[in-house]
């Protein structure tokens, strides 16, 4: 008797719905996206204890947790959106920052995933420095301060809308999508991008992904400049703004690659550490 053994993905996914990819939806996303941006650049006007490098620390940790837990791609950027919106309104001591990050992942995961992260697991990831009970109480605090407005627009919401309007060979799409998603995650770790409209980050990320891939193989029939113009048209973005945004995105990648190589050099003493580099795995696949 022959037996077939299949591994079944425990997550059941809905098939893509074409109706959600039409222009009406894109226009609505563009109309409402700004409502979910943080209200101010909070390091200047709200926070006294928290410094930009601390945001980077907590963001890097959150990204590691999301990757290790194989969260959906949107969970991390959405959690960062919650974190930024909370910090834009509430002065917070740095000792609460990791708890806040955990709460934001907890909420984003519940909103976006069929099997969400548990409070217990998130507490383990803080090295048990917080208790599940505290996480649940702060969940209510964060919900209250966000006015229960959790369905924020993220750059991921625009990716499919953009990709389907590009003159692209189908077989390259998944690679472009994967790289664009990595760029989006990178942007979320950098405060520079926190106040940018998600559509601009999405457009810049797709542009950076295609231009990056273009160097090795033909993925697009368009030149980089023509591509930028087309992208700008799709999301009604100013061409120069988009160019600047894409350059910033590429700079962030370069930065994070250098950081990774540095860590690799430092970490070569111990192989253990090498596995645990804080740079997202996917970035290593990208060549500038």
């Amino acid at each position: 008797m022959e037996l077939l053994c299949c591994e079944v993905d425990p997550v059941r996914r809905a098939v893509p719905d074409r109706n959600l990819l039409d222009d009406r939806v894109l226009q609505n996303l563009l109309t409402i996206e700004e409502r979910y941006l943080p209200q101010c650049s909070y390091f200047k006007c709200v926070q006294k204890d928290i410094q930009p490098y601390m945001r980077r620390m907590v963001a890097t940790w959150m990204l590691e947790v999301c990757e290790e837990q194989k969260c959906e791609e949107e969970v991390f950027p959405l959690a960062m959106n919650y974190l930024d919106r909370f910090l834009a309104g509430v002065p917070t001591p740095k000792t609460h920052l990791q708890l806040l990050g955990a709460v934001c992942m907890f909420l984003a995961s519940k909103l976006k995933e069929t099997i969400p992260l548990t409070a217990e697991k998130l507490c383990i990831y803080t090295d048990n420095s917080i208790k599940p009970q505290e996480l649940l109480e702060w969940e209510l605090v964060v919900l209250g301060k966000l006015k229960w407005n959790l369905a924020a627009v993220t750059p991921h919401d625009f990716i499919e809308h953009i990709l389907r309007k590009l003159p692209q060979q189908r077989e390259k799409l998944s690679l472009i999508r994967k790289h664009a998603q990595t760029f989006i995650a990178l942007c979320a770790t950098d405060f520079k991008f926190a106040m940018y409209p998600p559509s601009m980050i999405a457009t810049g990320s797709v542009g950076a992904a295609i231009c990056g891939l273009q160097q090795d193989e033909e993925v697009s029939s368009l030149t980089c400049d023509a591509l930028t113009e087309l992208l700008a048209k799709i999301t009604n973005t100013d061409v120069d703004c988009l160019k600047a945004c894409q350059e910033q995105i590429e700079a962030v990648l370069l930065n994070s690659l250098q950081q990774f190589r540095q860590e690799q050099r430092d970490g070569s003493k111990s192989e253990d550490e090498l596995d645990q580099a804080t740079t997202p795995t996917d970035v290593r696949d990208i060549d500038l």
Binding site: H96, T126, L143, K145
Partner: protein, 169 residues
């Protein structure tokens, strides 16, 4: 802290992601800050809806509150009501808070009986607004949104530290 069996993605034993980033967390300070922030949310909600959610009394303001009965709402969404006196977390056993613990509320262990009489609806009355009639003020558009009939029932729980602010993201 143990992980449930059958977890599809357990925390790896030696995960480097398990780390405390900014030193020890002061539980007492967390508690104080949590209480203060919840109180401020409650205060915002009180002003937003001209309703005192702690004592469940309508206040002077734009919304006219009226009691409704028999909406056939699932128990889960109803107020725990009088169970506060018999609530485990009120009296001791680890719970030091004056109000039911958030965890107990989230797990729904406090919901006991129907208290339909606590359901209320509110109607916005004569508010001067620059917005045209019927405009859809989504989240964050304007503080002076025009809403004909807002049923608060689903949000509404007594004696809970709850937040009802629905203005801006």
């Amino acid at each position: 802290m143990s992980q449930p069996p059958g977890d599809t993605c357990p925390v790896p034993r030696s995960s480097k992601a398990c780390r405390c980033l900014f030193g020890p967390v002061d539980s007492e300070q967390l508690r104080r800050d949590c209480d203060a922030l919840m109180a401020s949310c409650l205060q915002e909600a009180r002003q937003r809806w001209n309703f005192d959610f702690l004592t469940e009394t309508p206040l002077e303001g734009d919304f006219a509150w009226e009691r409704v009965r028999g909406l056939g709402i699932p128990k889960l969404y109803l107020s725990p009501g009088s169970c506060g006196s018999g609530g485990r977390d009120d009296t001791g056993g680890g719970g030091r808070r004056p109000s039911p613990s958030a965890a107990a509320l989230l797990q729904g262990t406090m919901a006991q009986e129907d208290h339909v009489d606590l359901s209320l609806t509110c109607t916005l009355v004569s508010q001067p607004s620059e917005q045209p009639e019927g405009s859809l003020g989504g989240p964050g558009t304007s503080q002076s949104r025009k809403r004909r009939q807002t049923s608060m029932t689903d949000f509404y729980h007594s004696k809970r530290r709850r937040i009802f602010c629905k203005r801006k993201p």
